[in-house]
Amino acid sequence: MKISIQINASPYQHQAADSAWHFIQAALVAGHQIYRVFFYHDGIYNALRDSRPPGDERDIVKRWSALQAEHGIDLVVCVSSAQRRGLLEQSVARKVGGYEAALADGFRIAGLGLLMEAIIDADRHICFGS
């Protein structure tokens, strides 16, 4: 089954990113395909490269990057949610004089069209939020 995931909450303030990550691990073990993970609302904070949690805590951002590296899962950050909150794609940041290295490895910034594509193509679309 093709399962698409949406994350609407920031990491650390809510459990949403943790619940989604554990769900995805279990779905992969069960042989399902994770079509895409779409980060919306404050969920875009999951993609901040410079997140540096203390060493004895889980590193939520790194965990997402690893998921992409190991399983090739498409991690998409909504462009309008991200720009509103100060997370810019490198080319945009360069143009407007913003911080160019904000986005963590494995993520890409794109429009809501990719969310619609996921909802239309996937068998299930599950939202995790606050």
């Binding site: 619940s19 299930r124 939020g129």
Partner: protein, 99 residues
């Protein structure tokens, strides 16, 4: 329909509202802080649901994280881990995540 509830029943009306219209074909999954509603003495809306046709699951890792023991929970509650969560998602449509 599968309802995914993630907030404590004292904090949010989602559980109460979904139970008002839930029928025998509906499934409720309690995750995150919502697992407290499974406790027998919690006075949650579930405590009035004994004998109801609605199927209620609680996510056991979220229970363990919060020290919510199965022995202290309502006897009709069923338990799933994340693999079971995935199975519920695959078996039910549509799904409503309540916030």
């Amino acid at each position: 329909m599968l309802y995914i509830i993630n907030k404590s029943h004292t904090d949010n009306l989602a559980l109460s509202k979904c139970l008002q219209t839930a029928s025998a074909t509906d499934v409720v999954l309690l995750i995150e802080h919502a697992v407290y509603a499974a406790l027998e003495l919690s006075q949650s809306p579930l405590t009035a649901m004994a004998g109801s046709a609605v199927t209620v699951y609680a996510l056991s890792p979220d229970m363990q994280a919060r020290g919510v023991q199965q022995a202290a929970c309502l006897d009709f509650i069923q338990y799933v881990d994340y693999a079971g969560f995935v199975e519920l998602v695959a078996a039910n449509q549509p799904i409503r995540s309540c916030f």
